[in-house]
């Protein structure tokens, strides 16, 4: 008799367990492609350990999504008010259908990523396209529909697509209270398992401790709760949302702190950021029409491997127009950071960095200057906390720590390395005039 369950070794979760249907999905060419998509783009050029791929991250997200589902839908963890909102939990069959949908959505949530993940997605896709939209197309493709419909029980592709990409990217799919909560488990909110896995996994591979937090405790204390009182006017909203039991508040704080440290120390590292920009420049020049294809076959034909081969080929052939662009990455001839946002400059003029960038472009040519202004999107620090007496309070009213966690934002102006010394001197002589202009 064949095995019903399978285990995959994983450095973060020790074992990831899956059933036969999940094994079929993992064997699909869409999912196998993720073996060749770096989780953190070219970050391995700065942190050599960052060579992990979307493949293992997606397995991790599936594992955590299943654990969270079991915890938050456990009958002892649901209040009668919340329980009556969800007919999806009426029978074991319905409950296991939705758990399976959630795990499949978690597994497939990243299949639409372009080569090198997030790097320059906006510029490299046609208007109105995002990697989430490509993910949705893969899930709804005939090829995958056949796989979903052959499962026990058969799964509806639209349910998987909805949870995989969330309401932001699929507003046309209509989210009720139930699908909102389930998509929140994966992709959004303070406690999305996508976030949990990437923080743990990225910090493990990079070799930093910042991203760690007690995810076991956090997951154990997650609950579907009514929204916290958001003001003192009238009655409290009954909208269900993900929150924690009081005992999990410190673990939630640790997750949000981990996120802050990872953004400030790793994700917004200036050299990592300039490599993303150089990669975008190279791809815009290399790709037909400067864009990646968005159809299923076209999308599957590009992974990091094909791009790395192109980069190496272009770098070694000076006759190619892309040679210099490739050399910035392959020969590590990246632009250097000339200016980084300073609070004193920003106080004088909120457009200081932009003005400096423009002045440097005028002086040294736009082709020698690059600008970047990353900030930590998607922050929402408030969530419901259930106290021992069953009452629900806003996390921000209970935790000083949460209220003090800064949001990371910076601005960089980079310059071609050969011009760095001269431009540095020029900028120090002219900066005040530029800012006050």
């Amino acid at each position: 008799m064949g095995k019903v369950f399978h285990e995959i070794r994983d450095p973060i979760h020790t074992f990831i367990r899956l059933d036969n249907d999940e094994k079929v999905v993992i064997s699909s060419r869409q999912f196998q492609r993720l073996r060749c998509i770096h989780q953190l783009a070219l970050t391995f050029l700065v942190y050599p350990g960052a060579s992990h791929k979307r493949f293992e991250h997606s397995l991790g997200v599936m594992e955590l999504a299943g654990r969270v589902f079991d915890v938050v839908t456990h009958p002892h963890h649901l209040s009668p008010e919340i329980r009556e909102l969800f007919s999806q939990l009426d029978t074991d069959e319905k409950r296991s259908y939705w758990k399976k949908v959630l795990r499949m959505a978690a597994l497939f949530h990243d299949v639409g990523h372009l080569p090198f993940s997030h790097a320059a997605e906006k510029e490299l896709l046609p208007d109105e396209w995002t990697h989430e939209k490509i993910t949705k197309h893969h899930i709804l493709s005939d090829e995958m529909q056949e796989i979903w419909s052959n499962m026990t029980p058969p799964l509806r592709a639209a349910d998987i697509a909805k949870l995989a990409v969330g309401p932001k990217e699929a507003p046309e799919l209509e989210f009720d209270d139930w699908s909102t909560i389930l998509s929140e488990i994966i992709t959004s909110g303070a406690f999305g398992v996508d976030r949990m896995d990437y923080l743990l996994r990225d910090s493990h591979h990079i070799g930093v401790a910042y991203g760690r937090f007690d995810h076991y405790r956090l997951i154990d204390t997650l609950r579907i709760l009514q929204a916290p009182p958001l003001d003192s006017k009238g009655e409290q909203s009954r909208e269900p949302t993900l929150g924690v039991e009081a005992g999990g508040l410190q673990s939630a704080e640790a997750l949000l702190l981990a996120r802050y440290f990872m953004f400030s120390q790793v994700y917004f590292h200036p050299v990592r950021r300039i490599y993303d920009i150089h990669l975008k420049d190279f791809l815009c020049a290399m790709l037909q029409g400067g864009k990646f294809p968005t159809d299923v076959e076209g999308h599957l034909s590009f992974t990091d491997n094909e791009i790395l081969v192109e980069l190496r080929r272009a770098c070694s052939d000076n006759s190619l127009s892309t040679s210099e662009l490739a050399g910035r990455i392959i020969k590590r001839q990246h632009f250097k950071r000339l200016y980084e946002r300073k609070p004193t400059d920003f106080q004088k003029n909120e457009q200081a960095a932009l003005l400096i960038k423009q002045a440097l472009e005028d002086k040294y040519g736009a082709e020698n200057i690059r600008f970047d202004s990353p900030f930590q999107k998607g922050e929402s620090i408030d969530f419901p906390v259930q106290l021992k007496d069953g009452s629900i309070e806003s996390a921000s009213s209970l935790s000083k720590t949460l209220n003090e966690i800064p949001v990371v934002k910076t601005e960089y102006v980079f310059i071609k390395r050969e011009l760095e010394k001269e431009a540095s001197l020029w900028l120090s002589n002219n900066k005040d005039d530029i800012i006050m202009s």
Binding site: A227, L230, D231, S232, K233, S391, I392, S397, V408
Partner: protein, 181 residues
């Protein structure tokens, strides 16, 4: 719309909501900005969908977050058990003063929305913004039909409350039409 002009409209809305005794948490601001866009057709670029507590914009959430990162907005902690409020900082006030003239034509729109919604709590705003969303997106202008659609999408909102929200939303739309004539 130009970035700083849009931010100035947002700051103007926060000021006006505060003047009208709003709690001014993120949810209150979200619903007010949605109403500003939907009822008064003020050309702000934030896209809204039906999500948390009714109409919700990820763009606007990111804008509020970025404005906190830039120091234009700060969080005011409220006593337990309530959620936080957002307040305009000194540098936020400077930004507002610098760009205000560019967008002063929208002041009456902001005033109309803040006057009508400022005193309302989150649950009421949630229902009204959901009603507005349903009526605009699905082109439903019948109270019963709208109420049943709200209840279908937001099961935690009872039919009676949905009916009253639909009625409030239609009233606001009519009042704005009269007001702007």
């Amino acid at each position: 719309m130009e970035r700083n002009n849009q931010r100035t409209i947002l700051l103007g809305m926060i000021k006006s909501l505060k003047d009208n005794k709003s709690w001014c948490g993120e949810t209150h601001i979200q619903k007010a900005m949605y109403s500003l866009k939907t009822i008064t057709n003020t050309p702000i670029d934030y896209d809204f969908i039906l999500y948390k507590h009714g109409a919700f914009s990820y763009d606007l959430r990111d804008e509020l977050t970025e404005m906190r990162a830039d120091g234009f907005l700060s969080i005011e902690i409220n006593p337990s058990p309530y959620g936080p409020s957002l307040a305009i900082s000194e540098s936020g006030q400077r930004l507002y003063d610098k760009y205000r003239e560019n967008v002063s034509q929208y002041d009456p729109n902001i005033d109309f929305i803040a006057t009508n919604l400022g005193a309302k709590g989150v649950t009421e705003l949630e229902r009204i913004s959901t009603a507005l969303y349903v009526c605009k997106k699905d082109n439903i202008f019948d109270i019963e039909e709208c109420a049943s659609r709200i209840n279908e999408l937001k099961r935690h909102v009872t039919i009676d409350l949905a009916r009253s929200a639909a009625s409030d939303a239609y009233k606001m739309l009519q009042e704005y039409e009269k007001h702007s004539c």
